[in-house]
Symmetry: C2
Subunit: 503 residues, 2 copies
């Protein structure tokens, strides 16, 4: 049952008077529940409880935290169909997607449980003393990693489960031993509350201090601001827009004690397709890209937004067939009217630019539905117009017809940082494409060969991040076990007897 | 021979008209050389050359970079006595210290050469494809780490070699494959030029692109500002004051593309001494701490500045003997008149605070010499007066007489982040000291048992960093092979054929 209340250290709380509602984009009406904006007192209580709980959580044995992560997964699963239905009501995403995302969420929690069950995850490294070393003795050194402290998590609009309340940021922070304060996403506050209540039950199951988790509602930005500015907060995880991520980054950097923010933000995910690949397999690439651009109404941070090719009859044919394929697809609903409004204005802005031609554009769609669109432009225009480099979050892509590979390389060297870059080539293209691959590797966190960028494997070898503005710190990943490195720091014990070291 | 010129991508350059001189604090007069302030054009050229050189350096094989690092060490050694003499003339530090610091610098370069000669230093991790996985195939993933791009290095006043031109930041950045732009320290610009010329010769020896290194002179802050604001710079390494480090951090955070800054800054390095330890070994601790506080005129970032104990006859006796020991030591010269001025005003500010008593204070010292000082204060006063928590960079320490261990713990929980924390205890103290050790572990990068914090081992198990303001990012270390992690980022190749991956 959804109460609309905040959860402050395990307790439901609604001391404030202001409320907001979530929205069903498919039905185009408000959902029933009223969510209570967290008050300044509730934020302070959540932070204070987190600080106190950290005293215990920081020395909580790995096996107990592993048990806790598995308990969260079990409690989320136990929410059953209610979770799936609320997810659908708050996002417009279909039930099969809800199921897939739930699986991914449970997988992430269990993956971190496995990871911290291995003894070597802290990178502990011991150097013995050398009492006879000259000119002076070498001390013994024991280096390990400890949790950084309370972490704030801001979930994503487009992943109400896997990148939200108990998503990758929360799972990795708990795995590290950090308390988590979630600023619940206002578009899916009900989904968030259900998952938050599952976390609370898991805390009870494993008998951990309730202060390690709070879930705070807010339809605006003040609650998030207050959390990030709280002097005891030690780090921030965010998934969302460049504007939102940068605002939090700036706030965190201007604190008296600056703290790290890992924000995974915008990306247009360039794809470079060789004429040979189009000659060989046109139909395959048309099908794969029609799907990748429109799947989930194009609301993936890895959606391919820029398709580069050499101006040629092959590229023209690809453009025609891709457009036809996409025109035949049914339009689908977007997450929220505000997302649809942003899509529509960004889409309009892009297609109104000089020399941009629209190849396909859906018309007369239902309210909150995304008009799937394919546009095209020449490389010279694209290079000189930064408006065309920006993300259009939704079922939109632009085909860029370039003079030659040098022009594509030059464009890639001038675009902003990206989550992904893709090349679609045949063997005979390898030599020619090496400079393109190198240029992409300087710009992205992940390179894909002969595939689509959508679909992020949750594994140790994944990098989900990249140079700014794909993320605020390209040295980390948001996905996979190494995402835990965002929340731990090294500490060295010199000549310390074992009995005197904290666990 | 010292020319006073900048080095821009291997070429000596003095297009500007403004010059400055370094200062011999021992003789209390200017050194002979005129150093040319780098101009905006020289900064831009250095950056542009770095960007172009990075194209080659980023794919430079590990064994060539290892050879390069060893060549730098050889070329620095080949500078012979000239380097040691200039070092002494610009810092006032004695020749034996110059020799020790040179050894450390060579060791760091060779250590990184060894490190990148091991195949696994990039943390490369491969996952095979699983074409039959359901519901969809798993791609192959190849994750590795690549250099982040051009890095700016701002050296330390107190380590003209080991934390400066070819110090740990530069060595680790070159090891990673990043071009380095050094903003030479104005107090030891001659030492810097000699080392920079050694780097240039090493670049020639190994035939690398000259753009991977520039050395820019400046007596003010504008050159550093221009470097950090250059859009192609990707990271900053800094060692110095909180004020300087924070200014660079703020500049970097406010760029259109924010970049990471690792600044190692201030620290007061709390030490907690048990009464039992004083009963058992008073003389030993007096000798060790008299040396640790005054060595190098107290100009170490790890100098113990706060000595906590329980108000007792043992602590009184320690205070008396430590003061006597320090009073008997000859005063020594500080690095520079400005450092001495800062020391003197910070020292005065501290000893003028309410309830602070001076136990020892050197008088009538020569110009630029540091007055070694031991003061004392009660725990309650210390707790409530943040002025006493600040670093006094020089041969100064304050003994804090506390009511009990709870008071010490409470104070530690409220002081800022530190590079180190030390406990001096006997076995029978272990149980009582566990909360102290835990509180320290939340505040510092390194904990020392029954020793002094000065003396930082350059090894894999070292952590030299800590919570703000000890550093701007507690997740990294400035010393040891893991300091390379500041300059590398992960990248994943999905389904990529080996032939198409950059080296």
């Amino acid at each position: 049952m959804i109460t609309g209340k905040n959860i402050v250290a395990g307790k439901f709380s609604n001391t404030g008077a202001n409320t907001f509602k979530t929205f069903n984009p498919e039905l185009n009406l408000d959902n029933e529940w009223d969510f209570f904006e967290a008050t300044a007192d509730e934020v302070n209580s959540a932070m204070q409880e987190a600080v106190e709980a950290f005293e215990l959580f920081t020395v909580c044995p790995d096996d107990i935290r592993a048990k806790f992560l598995r308990a969260i997964a079990q409690q989320i699963e136990a929410l059953g169909d209610e979770l799936l239905n609320v997810y659908k009501m708050e996002s417009g995403l279909p039930l099969n997607r809800a199921r897939a995302e739930r699986s991914r969420t449970l997988h992430q929690l269990n993956m971190f449980a496995d990871f911290i069950s291995k003894n070597d995850w802290r990178g502990t490294f011991v150097e013995e003393a050398e009492p006879n070393r000259l000119p002076k003795p070498k001390p013994s050194l024991y280096k390990t990693h400890i949790p950084i402290g309370p972490v704030a998590v801001f979930g994503a609009s487009n992943f109400p489960l896997a990148y939200s309340t108990a998503g990758g940021d929360t799972a990795s922070a708990f795995a590290a031993g950090c308390p988590v304060i979630v600023k619940s996403h206002p578009m899916h506050a009900g989904t968030g509350e259900l998952v938050a209540s599952a976390i609370v039950r898991a805390i009870e199951d494993v008998d951990l201090p309730p202060g390690i988790f709070s879930n705070l509602n807010s339809g605006g930005i003040d609650v998030g601001k207050q959390i990030v500015q709280h002097p005891k907060l030690k780090a921030v995880g965010f998934t969302g827009s460049i504007k939102g991520g940068r605002a939090l980054y700036d706030l965190a950097a201007s604190r008296e004690e600056p703290i790290p923010v890992f924000a995974e933000m915008g990306s247009v995910n360039p794809v470079v397709i060789s004429s040979n690949a189009l000659k060989t397999d046109l139909k395959k690439w048309v099908e794969m890209y029609a799907e990748s651009i429109t799947n989930g109404t194009g609301q993936f941070c890895t959606k391919p937004g820029l398709l580069f090719g050499i101006d040629s009859s092959e590229l023209d044919e690809f453009a025609v067939q891709l457009s036809q394929k996409i025109a035949l697809k049914d339009s689908t609903v977007m997450l929220n009217p505000s997302i649809e409004n942003n899509y529509e204005s960004n889409r309009q802005l892009a297609i109104e630019q000089n020399n941009v031609a629209v190849l396909t554009e859906a018309h007369d769609v239902k309210p909150n539905y995304g008009k799937q669109t394919i546009a095209t432009v020449d490389g010279t225009t694209f290079f000189s117009n930064p408006t065309l480099h920006h993300e259009v979050f939704g079922p939109y892509a632009i085909i860029i017809k370039c003079k030659n590979l040098q022009q594509i390389q030059e464009i890639i060297e001038h675009i902003e940082g990206q989550l992904t870059g893709t090349v679609i080539v045949e063997k005979e293209d390898f030599e020619d494409f090496k400079p393109i691959v190198k240029a992409l590797s300087q710009r992205v966190g992940r390179l894909i060969y002969n595939g689509v960028p959508t679909g992020v494997e949750v594994t140790e070898a994944m990098t989900h991040g990249g140079p700014y503005p794909a993320s605020t710190d390209s040295r980390f990943t948001a996905v996979g076990v190494h995402s835990i490195k965002r929340w731990i720091r090294p500490v060295t014990f010199q000549n310390f007897p074992k009995e005197l070291r904290p666990v």
